[in-house]
């Protein structure tokens, strides 16, 4: 997992997104413990408070839950929720693309053409965000 401090996305959201996609890809399975705050902070080289915020965000979303004294665990709906979350992200990306297209004056037909063309492209195997 890596975060980019210079990106415009706040670091805690980046961390939350990374964990979400890890859960969606079943790197962490339901019932499994997430790395401790301390270990995550040291691994990512960020302030532990930032990691705390990311974890709080994920708890709020129901992706993970806290067990007193034992740490944070992936909830049972975690994987599906993360996968839904991934769907949300994709939706947002599409909407962003459409918005950018409209702003650039691209017509609806051209947009549909672009969409079909990219759907027909062969899937890029092995290029997931976990290959770091």
């Amino acid at each position: 997992m890596k975060i980019s401090p210079s990106s415009h996305v706040p670091i805690y959201l980046q961390i939350a997104a990374e964990i979400r996609s890890a859960v969606a890809a079943e790197v962490y399975r339901p019932g499994e413990a997430l790395p401790s705050l301390r270990n995550m902070a040291i691994e990512l080289q960020v302030n532990p408070n930032t990691v705390q915020r990311a974890y709080d965000e994920l708890v709020r979303d129901g992706l993970i839950y806290a067990q007193r004294g034992k740490g944070l665990f992936v909830s049972d709906q975690g994987t599906t929720s993360a996968q839904n979350g991934a769907l949300e992200v994709v939706r947002m990306l599409f909407e962003e693309g459409v918005r950018a297209g409209r702003a650039a004056g691209v017509s609806a037909d051209q947009l549909r053409e672009i969409f079909s063309a990219s759907m027909n492209k062969p899937a890029n195997k092995g290029a997931t965000s976990h290959d770091q």
Binding site: I3, P5, S6, S7, H8, V9, P10, I11, Y12, L37, R38, A41, I42, Q45, V46, N47, P48, N49, T50, A103
Partner: protein, 304 residues
């Protein structure tokens, strides 16, 4: 005399000023750093970061104003402050003839709260050779030794003055590792001064931008970044509008592109820009710390 309260700010600077000759290196600086927070002091070279830090460490005389660390006035009780602060300076002048083990023994005798266990952990973490003389240490190892000395006495405040400058990427990572371990374990207040924004963004939750000895902006990093935006617009005839939205930090015209960095962003400011004559295709974008920093400095330079 020693007014240390346990819930006051960790570091409090009030009207701190330092004048060398006739130029103020630090000009009426007032700042509060809360306990447990990590504060990033940013600024270009010569902005007064090191001067400020040396004053609050009792290593440089204060021309005017006051610096309090954990409630203790540095001018009255520098030794107490030094005992509770772990300091890593920008340049290291540890006795070159001493061996690493000697340096540790020397410091151990002077600090009242020295923790042998922490010290051993750090020696192992950094793989320090206790029998090596300081003059034979590489820069990276020297910085790690300095960090070891700074954290081994369980200080409540950690002050790091440009600690990463000149370190190779591996040493840098090891250093950050050491810093993070101690933050995670003890929750100290950390003041880190740097001009590498990357490290500050990783570690700091609050930042302050220093330029020419004056504090231009300070606050929680996430708040600053979420309320400061860049408005991008096209200038139809390439003429820079005269009316700028409130809170504009800096604006720049490049050909027909107009970029306005605005603090305290609100919808009205966007409307203000949209309503201007000769302005089209107005968009808002987030701004990163680096660009914000550059804009603040450019704006300052333009006025001086």
């Amino acid at each position: 005399m020693t007014n240390s309260s346990s819930d006051g700010p960790a570091i409090e600077l009030s009207g701190l000023t330092k004048v060398f000759g006739s130029t103020p290196a630090v000009d009426n600086l007032s700042l509060k750093i809360d306990r447990g927070s990590t504060f990033g002091l940013l600024g270009p070279n010569g902005a007064g970061k090191s001067t400020t830090i040396k004053m609050l460490m009792g290593m440089l005389s204060i021309t005017a104003g006051e610096a309090r660390v954990l409630g203790v006035d540095v001018a009255q009780n520098a030794t107490i402050v030094k005992d509770s602060v772990g300091y890593v300076p920008e340049t290291h002048h540890i006795y070159r003839w001493m061996r690493v083990g000697d340096v540790i023994g020397f410091c151990r005798a002077l600090y009242t709260t020295w923790n042998d266990q922490t010290c051993h952990e750090m020696v192992d973490l950094f793989r320090l050779d206790l029998s090596k003389k300081v003059k034979h240490l590489s820069k990276g190892t020297l910085v790690k030794l300095a960090l070891l000395l700074a954290v081994s006495h369980d200080p409540q405040v950690l002050v790091l003055d440009e600690p990463i400058s000149g370190l190779d990427p591996v040493a840098r990572e090891e250093f950050l590792d050491g810093v993070l371990r101690t933050i995670c374990q003890r929750g100290q207040t950390v003041l880190i001064s740097s001009h590498t924004l990357d490290d500050v963004q990783r570690l700091a939750d609050t930042v302050g931008i220093l330029y020419d000895g004056r504090l231009l902006m300070h606050g929680r990093l996430d708040e600053i970044l979420s309320t400061t935006k860049r408005i991008r617009a096209t200038l139809v005839d390439g003429r820079r509008p005269t009316s700028l939205p409130a809170g504009t930090i800096h604006d720049r015209v490049q050909g027909r592109e107009w970029l306005v960095t605005v603090s305290g962003f609100q919808a009205e400011k966007l409307e203000h820009v949209r309503a201007l004559e000769g302005v089209a295709h107005v968009e808002v974008a987030d701004i990163g710390l680096e660009d914000l920093f550059k804009d603040i400095v450019k704006a300052q330079r333009a006025t001086t």
